[in-house]
Structure formats: C-alpha cells, structure tokens
C-alpha cells in the first residue's frame, strides 16, 4: 500500500467516481497491490523470510510503500 503520507492519485480517482455511482459516505480510498505467490512444500520460517525479502526488494518500494505478508494454505 502507498504509505499514508504519500499522495495516491489512483485512490483519489476511485473516490471521485463512487459518488457519481450513488455510493455516498466514503471519506477516503487508497489503492494498493496484492501479489499471490505460490511456494513449493511447507511454509517454513525460512521460506517466509524469503518472501519478506521479495516484498522488500522487488514487490514494494519501501520509500513510498508499506507491505504485509500473510499465509493462506
């Protein structure tokens, strides 16, 4: 997700479109990205650390974005 202090022009565009469709009461919209990553075998701490590394080096830009990693079996 874009960090809270970073302007999110795409989110603003979506927020602007919602009232035109009759959806009211939306005070803010922020747009981010979601990556679904499939791994071989059991999810170990070591594998999870690798995914964290992927998120930090390529999938996100830590200068402007935050990320969270979650596991689904």
């Amino acid at each position: 997700m874009p960090k809270p202090e970073i302007l999110d022009p795409q989110g603003k565009a979506v927020q602007g479109a919602l009232p035109r469709l009759g959806f009211t009461g939306v005070t803010d919209v922020r747009q981010g990205k979601r990556f679904e990553i499939e791994l071989e075998g059991e999810v170990t701490d070591a594998l999870l650390a690798e995914v964290e590394k992927m998120a930090e080096t390529l999938l996100s830009n830590p200068v402007i974005e935050n990320y969270t990693v979650s596991v689904e079996q």
Partner: protein, 222 residues
C-alpha cells in the same frame, strides 16, 4: 569522453540521447540492458521511455537488469550517471537517488515546454550552466511527481541536492517543485524533463538542454 547510453526493452529516447551526447562533443556508446560490462565508458545515461512496460512500478524491473549492477557499482565509485525521466525513476528504484516518482497529482500525462531553474551547477552534468540559470526544455511524463518523506526532503534541500526546480507552474505535483535531484556526492543526477530534446534548433524548443551534454567535457578538462 565515452558516454554509455543504456537501451532497455521499452526505452524510447535512447537514440536521441546518443545524438545529444555527440552534439555535446562526446562519444556515444550504446549499452544494452543485458550487458554485463560497461565497455569502458566514462559516464552513463539512462534514457527516457517505458522500460519493461513500466510493469510493477516505473523502473522497478529495470533496476535488476544485468547492466544496472555495473552502473550501481560505477556510480558508487564516482562515475557520472544521468537518468532522464524513466532513467530518473530507475535511479530512484535503485536507491542511487533519494525519494521516488509517483503518478502526476492531476492523473493526466503532461507534455509541455517547461521552464526550469538550475539550482545546482556543481554536478558533472550541470556545470555548463550558471547557478540560477533559467532554461526551457520539454517535459513529458505520466509519473513524474517527486516525493520523499519530510526528513529526506529537508536533507536534500539542506545539502543542495536539488538540481533543478519547476518554474511558472508545478506540472505534476512534485514536492518543493523539484524537477531533478542528485546523490550526496553529486555524480548521480536524475531529471524528469528531457534536455536531449533541446540540443538542435531544427527539432527542439531551443538549445537549452545542451548544457547537460557539454558539462562533461568541461568537467574532463577542468
């Protein structure tokens, strides 16, 4: 001097940049994103365009191309590196430059002849300009909004790392009207507008961009 111009898949302004290098009095050397060496060049330009289709984030994938490993090493060793537009985005993604570039605040692509002020003429790319000189060159970008956290912004302003600033209007929402920045050492410069399109009377808005390409010669003989 030999100036390498990197072509990534999706680069657009590489040939214009090579031409500007030659008009500026230097030798242009074509580098490919897959190259594992810099072919003995003295400086590198990362040109504008949409490298790797701007997938993921502008410059995010280009940053990990083989040639960029060499460029990052050389930049840390003091080699002059200039990133224009998409090249600027690649340098920010590589963390060679502070901050990042995000979508224009008005969400539209902008293409205009833009007035700038050269704020720092002590870099190897801007030494041909006077401090405070105003130049007009083309700006064309969709994701040119320069952002950084408050602490970083205060640091680059305080250290004189702002190389150029937008005048008349802020075309993309860049903080502090920043059009270009350098690293701490000053050898790596990123610029959102395009000096390589303003080096010939026939085809550009004037000759105001030429200084970015003649500065290297002045540096070499200084």
């Amino acid at each position: 001097m030999k100036v390498g111009v990197v072509t990534f898949p999706g680069s657009l302004d590489d040939v214009d940049a090579q031409r500007a290098v030659r008009i500026g009095g230097n030798e242009a050397v074509a580098l490919w994103h897959g190259d594992a060496d810099l072919k003995g060049v003295d400086a590198v330009i990362l040109p504008g365009g949409f490298s790797y289709g701007d997938y993921l984030r502008c410059g995010a994938i280009s940053r990990f191309s083989p040639v960029m490993d060499r460029v990052v090493e050389a930049a840390h060793a003091g080699m002059p590196v200039l990133g224009i537009c998409n090249g600027f985005q690649i340098l920010c993604e590589s963390h060679l430059l502070p901050g990042a570039l995000i979508r224009n605040d008005h969400r539209k692509f902008v293409c205009r002849d833009q007035l700038l002020r050269i704020e720092n003429n002590r870099t190897p790319w801007t030494s041909a300009y006077d401090h405070g000189q105003e130049i007009r060159i083309v700006l064309k970008n969709g994701e040119g909004g320069f952002v950084a956290d408050a602490e970083t912004l205060a640091r680059i302003e305080g250290e004189g790392q702002v190389v150029a600033r937008y005048l008349e209007l802020n075309p993309n929402g860049s903080l502090d009207d920043i059009a270009g920045v350098s690293n701490e050492r000053g050898n790596v410069v990123g610029l959102m507008p395009h000096p390589e399109h303003a080096v010939e009377e026939l085809t550009g808005s004037g000759l105001d961009g030429l200084g970015f390409f003649t500065s290297l010669v002045e540096t070499a003989f200084a």
